[in-house]
Symmetry: C2
Subunit: 422 residues, 2 copies
């Protein structure tokens, strides 16, 4: 599970928003555009046109933007020119400029169409953030800041992914932070809907680049979406889904150029039965085995706690006995932290590379024994050696060699009848 | 005269600074680096090395930066992609990111050398600005913000050219704003000195690219520097000079790579006699002639007032009679405003292009009749038709065809014996 402690938008300061969004003549739209939707001047103009059309219908728009195209990666690379390990604080100061610039440019493009628009940094938008640099968590949004602007502007463009803490420091929210900003704003402004415009037409039963026959889902419940997003479906950030669930904001995932249909993430009926909803996958997974020896052999748990304190997120975790624990990590394994733990606790570790993870995600998966059996049979038929397996009522995850990952995704999509012909 | 209403750093909030700078162990250096000094990663690293060297001497450093290289022009061009006439407010939001990014990158580069550094936006640095977007004026600096940082950081990097107004709006200070930021910070922090590091080795008797035999000046009085800067010497912004004079901050203009010698701008003795200090020049000057006809022929002054209200700065202004006024403008003439005034006041206007202005700048120029005579003779000897002439005790300015401008600068430099052989 992704950590999500955003209690945003529920405090006294933001509550008035919930009353006031409904009072805006024509209603309020809260929408987010990702970096790929703003990657070229033409796309920015397309987005401006869409916003102007909403304004022409009499609606007010609050739009959250990411940095244009590859700007964030470029800024990180630029920082790398000057520092081997850039301080998180300065990276935040630097990276926030990407979203601020795209917000100003989009506001210009909307104004050019004769619709009054203005941009705000996260700080100017009243977004108060706690936590550490690079890992900020929205604590509160002073919604009156945006309502004040909406008296003069039809379209308020907010730089995503950032806010200001109580000491006046700028903090960014980490990857996916713009989704979280948009949902938090919807909650704080009292909107029941939030539109996430991206480069796909919605949430699919599997990644369409891997499974051409995958199907767009009309509706996905919050908890299933949390699992899909947490297991590698990049369409929506897991933190934003948890935030939406807590504040009952319906999230619509739409294509930024053809914003019809899409997928709605919303509340599931209390008794929803059991079903498989989709297949998610992740590449770039590593499996760590940590073995303790000697007198300290009973200290697997403290060793793991120490790793977590160093920012490591152990996933698909299995505990062979008191001496050995295995878990997956995303991306690079933190070798320096592992070394430190090994030195301190008399442990050995091994890292397996070139792995991927495939997940069957759905509702009440344990309620139907055929689901787990079906998954194991499908993977077995490919001759795949499963390196690790984790199960929960809402997902089964298998870790396997990355070169067989796509085949496994296709096989599982087929096995559970998720294609268009269903 | 440049308009300069920065009353910065004299209010109660900033006064404590004047007491506290002296209390910092090792002392405080306030320094500014322009965009060309930060144009490449190597130059940024050079600057970081210079700052680390100051820190190694035990000093604390507050350094103001411009945007790297051509960033500001690139951002303006990017805005032009989206809007024919970008709103000043959004341009401010956009342009401020240039300085913020270079501040963060320089802080990273200094940290990399093992010296603790951090960056601040103008807002975070406590710079309170009044005025309009794109034309902000520093009202006040809450100096304690920077003193707090100096308890932890050896080097505080401040994004120049920007601040926050009382409504929380970001405003930029207009061209040359980073010079003004640096001088205002020096005053607010109680430093008696401010170093402006740029791409020239100081203030010269004339632009060395035009007059190879020009000489670096060791000391220039504030009022002479104001005239030199206002008449085209780009080394220091006129507003920053006026601010330095008011707050008795000695400004040193230094080359960013070879920061030896340079030029000090400081107080002149009360009785300073008379002398020519340097020759300044400007290209891209236009001469406007405005003639009123008919019943409203006596309304030259209101017409001019209207032009000023539209942001036009009439310079080298001559008043032939009640019906005709002539003046120069820098850069493009505001044809739309002229059209509007002409329509409203029954006037005609003519604009002469391809002109330049050369100025003899000094102290007590009227106290020596030879100065004006010498200027007129030198220009006359070149066969130059002077289109307009303005005189004051500290400068004589002649407007002439731009293709003869360099020759006029050289001739005047020679006439007044300003070369190295003096």
């Amino acid at each position: 599970m992704e950590k999500c402690s955003e209690p945003a938008a529920t405090t006294a300061e933001s509550r008035p928003g919930r009353d006031r969004a409904g009072e805006l003549p024509g209603g309020l739209v809260v929408r987010k555009y990702g970096g790929s939707s703003l990657a070229t001047p033409d796309r920015v103009r397309n987005v401006a046109g869409a916003l102007a059309a909403l304004a022409a219908e009499g609606r007010r728009v609050v739009v959250v933007v990411s940095a244009m195209g590859d700007t964030t990666d470029e800024l990180v690379a630029l920082a790398g020119e000057f520092a081997d390990r850039p301080e998180a604080r300065e990276l935040d100061q630097l990276m926030a400029t990407g979203e601020q610039a795209s917000a100003a440019l989009l506001a210009l493009a909307v104004n050019q169409l004769g619709v009054r628009a203005g941009s705000l940094s996260g700080d100017q938008a009243g977004i108060v953030v706690g936590g550490r640099p690079g890992a900020g968590v929205i604590e509160r949004i002073d919604a009156h800041r945006i309502f004040e602007r909406l008296r003069h502007w039809r379209v308020v463009v907010v730089a995503g992914f950032q806010g200001r803490n109580r000491d006046g420091e700028l903090l960014t929210l980490g990857r996916g932070g713009s989704d979280t900003t948009a949902v938090a704003l919807a909650a704080a402004l009292g909107s029941t809907d939030c539109e996430i415009c991206t480069d796909v037409a919605g949430v699919h039963t599997a990644d369409p680049r891997v499974v051409p026959g995958s199907r767009r889902l009309d509706t996905v419940p919050y908890d299933v979406m949390t699992e899909l997003a947490g297991r590698g479906a990049k369409v929506l950030h897991p933190r934003s889904v948890a935030l939406a669930a807590r504040h009952e904001v319906r999230v619509r995932v739409l294509h930024s150029m053809w914003p019809v249909d899409g997928t709605t993430v919303a509340e599931e009926p209390l008794e929803a039965g059991h079903r498989v909803v989709g297949i998610a996958h992740e590449r770039d997974v590593r499996l760590v085995s940590l073995t303790l020896t000697g007198a300290r052999a009973a200290r697997c748990a403290p060793a793991l706690a120490k790793l977590v304190e160093h920012g490591l997120n152990p996933d698909v975790l299995t505990w062979r006995d008191r001496h050995e624990v295995r878990f997956t990590v995303r991306g690079q394994a933190p070798l320096d932290v592992l070394d430190e733990v090994a030195r301190e606790l008399d442990a050995k570790w091994v890292v397996e590379d070139d792995l991927g993870a495939v997940s069957v995600v759905g509702v009440g998966l344990f309620d139907h024994p055929g689901y787990l059996a079906g998954m194991l049979r499908a993977v077995g038929a490919l001759g795949v050696a499963v390196a690790a397996l984790a199960t929960s009522p809402s997902r089964f995850t298998a870790v396997l060699p990355v070169d067989l990952l796509d085949a496994a995704v296709c096989a599982l999509h087929e096995t559970f009848g998720l294609g268009a012909g269903r």
